[in-house]
Symmetry: C2
Subunit: 760 residues, 2 copies
């Protein structure tokens, strides 16, 4: 144990040394906190007469000044001094008196109407239900029942309880992830009501899942996060410094150059992955950090390391609020305040040390050596099994707490805005600080860190980096296209210009154009995986949805060009299609357009259907219907009116008609000549001479000479037979391209609708 702690404190020291040495923004500020612009004397501005924007601006000025001076020359003796002390000590040295943040929540109550969960795919989106009708009343479930507590800067506040006890709900409530109108009770920071907008700037919320690009390294992952969340005004070198400092703070130095990894690619360990996830969310050094079960799924040692990192974050001047299922003994010792929940009610609230006396007084002493939280959770569970539930314990806890003062400590000396301001001047909140510097309007806190084109550039770069490290995905798609192309080329090898050859051409085109779409379906899993990352990142406004949609399209395009050329080269000449080099180029273009439309279609579906197997089934079925209605199986003039709309909606129709025209749109090219017209009639069995005689007789009857070499059906005739008469081949091409854009726009819409993530 000792060794472990030693190792970590070594890391701590190294981390702080690194931060100082590389002179990142926060340290720059810290060095200059005594300069007139930077240090705001406590008390000034308390009256709330300045706006948050002005506040940020002032701090921003201080910061800029600090940056300059720092640029002129580092203070070597200070740096050496810092190298000697632990980051935690450093913090205490700096903060005399510190601006202590206290997050207080009082009587939080949250109820939901229980809904029948009959339908598998229906979402709980009935916010407009009539409130509290007689019938609904009976089904109301109280998830949080008058929960109060207090979380302090420098401490870890842990919410404990069995699954379903309300842990995550409480974290959500505090993190403003529950619609305010549904939640009763008050949440204040330093005694002032906490606005959602402000909270969003000064806090971070870390979800349970690790959603990371598998092929990026730890350093790259954090660097991209820095690009998204840190403002543009921060120089690239400072962003780098922030990332390096964070890597040390997270204890990820050894893994910095390792990729995240997935099932196939070996990457970092589960604990490291979790710490990277946390790092992504705290890149801007938030004042309040919420975590939903940060240790779930980790082995005990990794879990301990994660909580140790959280302690370090708390000590750097943050409030850390987390839910935890069942902490080990070592983790318990890192927690400062516990809140035990049972079915939405508080059963214990206080420090870990208080558990022994609490349960002893309740009449259930914790046996020696037993983990107190294990004991408590078991006792709670046992009580929950009784008819009375845990009521006795809840009441016992209430009687002991006997309504403590709203805040045990006296009201903090600083107002909230001043406290934040001082905290910023001490280096917290990298993003908020400098964002204030670039724009003095208070609404700026809501906006994205970067303008649209920067976001797009960064997103494209990230996605491209991840994609190019998985060449096997492209290789599989290419192999699928080449295999299908090879099979089609050999089965439709050098088609002749006979009635059967024409029919086979139709079949070839129908299958070939469907292949593009089916090949795109294989990309569905990748899209779905990426979509989860997107959902998480846009939840805290890391970037615009539109940038994501566009960068997604940009990154997916180059492989499609290669696939198109590969398919066209494999099939065009082998089948013997008409049109020469111009026809070939058009063939490539229409194949590319089909790929583009298909990938757009699948992208859109990945935004609507989130279950992978269901999505795959839907794609396959819809594409089959598209093929059925494309005009190949039944011509447009033969489709009943009530289905014509679907014919026009068929994605396959347009590329199919385009290649048909590319092939047949030549009034001089002949596909049925002379006696070939009898090929599909019983007359085909007659001797050649007899057929020629029949032709002659027909010609005489019509008054036109018909011989064995007379052209009966030209390409144009075939197009007319197939009712391909409405759009030119270029029309079809542009319509196909437009489908691709339309689906990407619909994808954008689906993201807008789908990514509302507040509870009602």
């Amino acid at each position: 144990m000792t060794r472990f702690v030693d190792k970590i404190s070594v890391l701590d020291r190294r981390a702080s040394a690194m931060e100082e040495a590389e002179g990142i923004a926060r340290d720059g500020l810290r060095m200059h906190r005594s300069s007139p612009a930077g240090a705001i004397p406590p008390g000034q501005g308390t009256g709330g007469s300045i706006t948050l924007g002005q506040l940020f601006k002032r701090v921003g000025d201080a910061h800029n000044g600090g940056g300059e001076e720092e640029g002129v020359g580092g203070n070597d003796s200070l740096m050496n001094h810092v190298l000697e002390v632990d980051a935690f000590e450093q913090y205490h040295l700096d903060s005399r008196p510190p601006p202590p943040f206290v997050l207080t929540f009082t009587d939080l109550t949250y109820s939901v109407k229980r809904q029948q969960r009959m339908s598998l795919f229906r979402k709980n989106r009935l916010a407009s239900d009539p409130p509290e009708t007689e019938a609904a009343l009976g089904r109301t479930k109280t998830l949080l029942n008058s929960i109060s507590g207090e979380a302090r800067e420098g401490e870890i506040f842990a919410v404990l309880g069995a699954s379903g006890s309300g842990k995550s709900t409480l974290i959500d409530a505090l993190a403003n992830r529950i619609a305010r109108e549904s939640l009763q009770g008050s949440i204040t920071l330093n005694g002032e009501k906490l606005e959602g907008r402000l909270l969003k700037v000064i806090s971070a919320y870390v979800m349970q899942d690790d959603l990371l690009y598998p092929m990026l390294t730890v350093e790259e992952t954090l660097m991209f996060s820095a690009e998204f969340r840190l403002p543009r005004s921060l120089s690239a070198s400072k962003k780098k410094s922030r990332v390096q400092a964070l890597i040390d703070q997270l204890g990820l130095r050894a893994a910095a150059k390792t990729i995240i990894g997935d099932e196939i690619h070996r990457g970092v360990s589960g604990g490291e992955r979790r710490r990277v996830s946390i790092g992504m969310d705290i890149i801007h050094d938030p004042i309040v950090l919420f975590l939903d079960e940060p240790t779930s799924g980790l082995d005990s040692t990794s879990a301990f390391m994660v909580v140790k990192v959280l302690q370090r974050i708390a000590h750097s001047g943050s409030i850390v609020i987390m839910s935890v299922h069942q902490p080990s003994y070592r983790i318990l010792r890192l927690l400062d305040r516990l809140l035990f929940l049972s079915r939405g009610q508080t059963v214990y609230s206080g420090p870990p040390d208080g558990l022994h006396s609490f349960f002893a007084d309740f009449g259930h002493s914790i046996p020696d050596g037993e983990n107190p939280t294990e004991f408590a959770l078991d006792l709670i569970r046992e009580l929950e099994g009784t008819p009375a539930g845990a009521t006795a314990l809840v009441q016992f806890n209430n009687s002991r707490q006997s309504r403590p003062a709203q805040s045990v400590a006296a009201k903090p000396a600083l107002s909230l805005k001043d406290a934040i301001s001082v905290s910023i001047s001490r280096g917290k909140l990298v993003s908020g600080a400098t964002e204030g510097a670039t724009s003095s309007s208070s609404s700026s806190v809501q906006k994205h860190a970067n303008p649209f084109w920067i976001e797009m550039g960064v997103l494209t770069k990230r996605s491209w980096t991840n994609t190019k490290r998985m060449p096997e995905l492209f290789a599989i798609r290419l192999a699928a296209v080449l295999l299908t192309g090879f099979i089609l080329a050999t089965i439709f090898w050098r088609l002749d210009n006979s009635p059967k050859g024409v029919q086979e051409r139709l079949g070839f085109f129908a299958i070939a154009m469907s292949t593009m779409f089916y090949t795109c379906a294989d990309a569905l899993p990748v899209f779905l995986q990426e979509r989860n990352i997107f959902m998480r990142e846009t939840a805290y406004n890391a970037y615009r949805r539109s940038s994501y949609v566009l960068s997604n399209a940009i990154v997916s395009f180059p492989p499609l060009v290669l696939l198109s050329i590969a398919f066209a080269l494999t099939t065009y000449f082998a089948v013997g299609l008409a049109g020469g080099i111009q026809g070939f180029i058009f063939f490539i273009l229409i194949v590319l357009a089909a790929f583009w439309a298909g990938s757009g279609f699948v992208t859109f579906l990945s935004g609507v259907v989130t279950h992978i197997l269901l999505g795959y089934t839907v794609v396959v079925a819809l594409l089959a219907y598209f093929l059925l209605f494309s005009g190949f199986f039944i011509n447009r003039d033969r489709i009943h009116d009530y289905w014509l709309w679907f014919h026009y909606m068929s994605l396959v129709k347009y590329p199919y008609e385009a290649v048909m025209q590319n092939e047949f749109d030549d009034p001089h090219k002949c596909f049925v000549r002379g006696v070939q017209m009898f090929d599909s009639t019983p007359l085909a069995a007659l001797p050649e001479a007899a057929k020629v005689a029949v032709l002659r007789a027909m010609g005489q009857s019509l008054g036109v000479p018909i011989t064995a070499s007379t052209c009966i059906t030209t390409g144009t005739g075939i197009l007319q037979q197939q009712s391909i008469t409405q759009l030119s081949k270029w029309d079809c091409f542009w319509v196909t391209v437009a489908w691709g854009f339309l689906f990407r726009f619909l994808f954008y819409i689906s993201l807008l609708i789908g990514s509302r993530n507040k509870r009602r």
Copy 2:
């Protein structure tokens, strides 16, 4: 804590009461252990002069005798007595002196050659590699390095260590799941070498995953397991009693009537599920029980309950050997012997109480209140991070152990066979005991508990019970078939007998026959899920692979009949197909045959491709190629020779040709009449009178009168054009049916090959 233990001991008492009250086999035996046939005097038969079969037979006789007497009249006073005592006490009362089983393993060493893991889907099946060449030598990895230990009846022997330390490998080695030739060292039970065949009878191995039918209740799940693993000679009521006793032993009484559940259907909790899994494997009450991380994925309370159950099993007279990643403090107190591994080497071996002094002597005292296993694992991990690794600890452990006597206790008084015999007479090993009774040949221990037809019946019943509780799965398939049927019916509504109508019929048949196959693909996930259960169950010879394949086919058949009728009813009359009622019945039959072949095909693939998404992609792609080669897109006479083999392999070809013949095989039915022959030529634009004139001219030329009503092409003619001339429609039907059988046979073969589960 106290309460918990109380609750459990209440359960214990209830369990033993239940066992006694219902008079199951083991208790029957226990009552009669002093009867001359049942009680084998210690020492008799020690010379190994009797075979195991004879041994079992003798015990079996005892058991049968016991059963009869018990039937005559229960001993009420004994029952009442038993109600008073705990099962554990009961065991100790009974077993004075007990036949103590001791499993000893000495110097177990196991190495593997490290293989490059480049390919994603390649299996590690290179047993025929040249052994220990110069290059291979460098890559050899020692998974177990001279591991010794001793596990005793009535105790839990736990193997601990980080992931990759060799825990599971050691369990596998002890459970005879590693090919003997690869494993060095000896494993003995009561000093006698343990044969694989014997071990299989007296032991059980519980895997980490819970593979259970989601829609069966806990009781049903265990009952089916009893049907498979307990011999036929055991009466149904005794099997029921055994299951009831087991439910109590596992603490599952409250959940007995609850379904297991899955993501969609709410079922039992994770801990209960794990206990059901264990219950399935110990239904025959084994003497040695191996478990690979039985607590993984469970919350601490559930994990504790599981280990508590294991303790109860150990106390009932078994050796329990398990691996565990990081036991909580409470679980640790249930373990009797620990073996800590680090990279395949022993770093500690002894009781949990010894950890404190061991590590204190090593110079790293365990701090007060710290979980000793957490401490130990962290220390090991830390040492592993140093250049020397955990060598110091390994050597320290070796020096402390200083080669203890092979077995600390004196050699047991009983020989292995006698000990097993006595154990059986005390009620252990329900299966082995009575299996011996039905057959006196010693080879009988390897066989299945039931004959083929019983297995099939039970498997069919189980699968059917599970299926019928998920009607939504069938409903989804039915909806898919009806939807496709509806779309096809409306788009091909009342096709006329014109050249275009003929072409559209071809399209309809091709799509319709492909639909059957694609619909079957949706069943792939269900098959894959079931396959995992199958793999596990056949691993311990619960039933024959052939019974499974057959029962699988039987259960899947009835829904196919309904789907076929639904599809035929939706489409046949709407499209206006020919053949009247006879044609309709044939249509149903061929649709059913297609479903049968398709489901066989998908079943077979589920046996070969185990990854669900890969499987789905392969099915969809293969079916597309089948359709391409079916003869619809390109007629058989136009397919190049090098592809003809695939045409004949195309599953879609046969049902397609069958329905084509069902429709067109009428030499009198006319599809192209008179002027219709010009429909697909430029002459179609001429006025009707002109066309008739041309026909007349043609007729004159041929010497045959041709008028507007003359039949140009009959159905037979169309079949000839399409090269559908080789097989009659009934031939096609039988070939399709045969495909279904062939795939199910191939499925059987794939199971035979795929389910070898020993390490090399």
